[in-house]
Symmetry: C2
Subunit: 113 residues, 2 copies
């Protein structure tokens, strides 16, 4: 799910390549109601390291999912927001999120954790 992979076998494959990994769906979700700055995201996504956050944001930016806006201010400020493609991707993820909510108890029970 890194930054490279070739021709996909189907649309689902392509979508998973873009949104796969431990943090990307959560990042997308954090951005669903507007722009957020780097520090805000870091604080919302508990447990993420700065390295991972930047890495994932950069990949999402390269894939045209998020937009990065730099404000040259006194403490630097950088805001991330969804592009049109990012917004539609987020919408396409909603049913999956709903499914997860409904089945979360079962999944959690079935796995040891």
């Amino acid at each position: 799910m890194g930054a490279k992979r070739g021709p996909f076998s189907c649309g689902l494959d392509a979508a998973v390549a873009v949104v796969g990994g431990k943090w990307k769906p959560l990042i997308l979700w954090e951005l669903h109601d507007g722009a957020r700055r780097f520090g805000e995201l870091r604080r919302s996504l508990r447990g993420i390291s700065e390295k991972m956050l930047i890495q994932q944001l950069r990949e999402l930016e390269a894939d045209g999912i998020v937009h990065r806006e730099v404000y040259r201010e006194v403490p630097p400020r950088v805001e991330y927001s969804l592009t049109e493609a990012g917004s539609s991707l987020n919408k396409a993820l909603l049913p999956l999120g709903d499914w997860g909510e409904e089945h979360m108890d079962h999944i959690t029970a079935v796995r040891g954790a």
Copy 2:
């Protein structure tokens, strides 16, 4: 995305834990129109190794997504099919697949591959 991970931060997180990885979405898709036997799946999913296929099927089975039916026959026959949960998961993946189809050209272009 293996067989273990604890409490999830949201439904999307749980769903990704179940369906994440290189092959699981493709396996689900292969099963969307009925039961398939092991060998059929192996031939459909070009490039998958037997080890990976079984591993993923076992995890999906443990998560209650697929059902495994063994027929004690002369060359052994094993059929895999979607459970109710698996079927609804597959439906929840449809919008994501559509998104992927629409944006595949862009994604493929943006990445080297």
